[in-house]
Subunit: 186 residues, 4 copies
């Protein structure tokens, strides 16, 4: 037992001599691909959840949930989100404000008279499939397809770009969201 | 003349007491809004230039110019660009490679059989109008409209998102480009 | 005078034809040099304030103020701050925790027995003079001197590096702080 | 065998239903901890290499190597490096230019008359030991000790902060370097 200190000291020295970072505190705020995929899945789940809430509990409940989703997953509190939803038209194509996003998802806002509530359309499934993911600096951007399925089983595919940044709490937030229907030659 | 030192010393102290950074070397790699607007104008000019080169000198000359534009203004050398051009369709919607971008702009690539050369369509004018600009960390993202005019004076408006990063030489490069025709209710 | 409208209209068109972003929402999270200089001045002011609070109201009041300063100006809530204060020694040279920073500034923590409270030393003035400022991506880093003056008028100069990031509320926070006495050949 | 298509189709659907990014192109420019540790080791190796080159081939050869090291591992081409070497004194404490860094490492520059060449002092070993590593946005910063050993076996420990950014070629470059001898109460 008296040998124990002798053994421990060289071990400690050996570790130190590796220039080891074993004991270093590491704060890593970089965005990982896994976090990106998780944020995309969460967006899809939220869309279906709002649809289901609408079906079971009505528009007011769906709106309350949509507000929670927008406040939790988008970055409107940063000043603006660059949001081009799939179905909006000029002069209200771009929904850079929270109110514009909420109107798009659940409708019922006289200031956005053409919005009937995209998230209320009875979506039952939603999946994303990335063509590419670009992680750089403080952000991660994805481009690819999102496939959403309605009650009848019909699948709508959109082309979608999302840019995420990580907030102070470590949560990814959408700061750019461009969604469009695939081009069809007329 | 003997007063000069007395005058100079307090001046020097006064400057120092401001905690002045007057003599500090400042390296500022942040992206300014002016740089973003300039990069957008350069993209527009390049589109018209390629069209004009095509009209006056043929496809080979237009292709050579397009290659120069892509290499100078996009970030393909970083590994990929998240590029969804206006008119592409599945399964070649996303042009994450340089070859895919070049084919879209000037056509003539058997690997992209549906590409007829978007930049060869005789564009005479191009302007961008941002709905929002978001500058954060190492990137700047814009969302808005780009209006392009053909020889007959017909204007096509697209919804467009661009994300720029600054390369080591200080030049903005497009790493994300999502372009889509406005939604039209069917 | 009747020409005025004719003049104005082309001007308006000319502006529009520049692809003007006049009406665009701009969110710019880049750190400006002015923000950096302001954060440095705030650090200096806080140091003097803690000293004065200590002199007038005692250590407990100084400690309470120091806690407020640390929580408001450093980034410990991000997981760690890379803080090497001027006067610390091994094995407690690096104060990566909030407790370590607080002990350094105001002492009175048995876990940091050598700390007597750097901010309690009766500082009356503090100025920073940058040799260089480097703004890049999400951070700004400064290197230069900070000159602090005690009650007797004696000035101590330190070599100091600060790295600031901007938090979600738009406030600069210190995430790196390396301070050292100038080298003196022995 | 006729079942094969039936089997394959569900498999393809199953994969798609995972929202799989399996085939996505991923560009990830984030800095990893491993890259940081590697860059630190490279710095240490370069210091010892310059010392050995000096011993075997003279100052000119050491200087040529130091130039290569500075150009490869620092970011002077970005406009400045925030470099406070261990042994410099006012008014040349901060070496924000390449010339100042080179003079510090190998001496022989009349513009920096106090520099005798830090890297020429016969260093035989060099190791770094991080107290903390902070990775955020486009940079990684480390703080800790570096232990350098001379020919006689004497170890000098310095407190060191490094900030690295990744250049367009994917290589980490030092843009901030603050090195200081440990504080010793006088």
């Amino acid at each position: 037992m008296t040998n124990k200190p002798r053994v421990l000291i060289p071990v400690a020295l050996a570790l130190a001599s590796l220039g080891s970072a074993a004991s270093a505190t590491v704060v890593n705020q970089a965005i990982s691909e896994a976090e990106v995929l998780q944020a995309q899945k969460a967006w899809c789940k939220a869309l279906v959840d709002i649809s289901q809430t609408h079906a079971t509990s009505g528009q007011a409940a769906a709106k309350a949930l949509a507000e929670k989703v927008i406040d939790g997953a988008y970055g409107y509190q940063m000043g603006a989100v660059l949001f081009k939803p799939t179905l909006t038209v000029a002069p209200q194509t771009f929904r850079t404000t929270r109110a514009g996003a909420l109107a798009y998802f659940v409708g019922g806002d006289a200031a956005f008279p053409k919005d009937t509530g995209f998230a209320l359309k009875g979506w039952t499934q939603c999946e994303s499939k990335n063509a590419a993911v670009f992680i750089s600096g403080d952000s991660a951007t994805t481009m690819g397809n999102v496939m959403i399925t309605d009650k009848s089983g019909k699948v709508t595919t959109v082309d979608k770009t999302w840019k995420f940044v990580k907030d102070d709490a470590g949560k990814l937030r959408i700061v750019v969201h461009h969604s469009s229907l695939p081009y069809t030659a007329s």
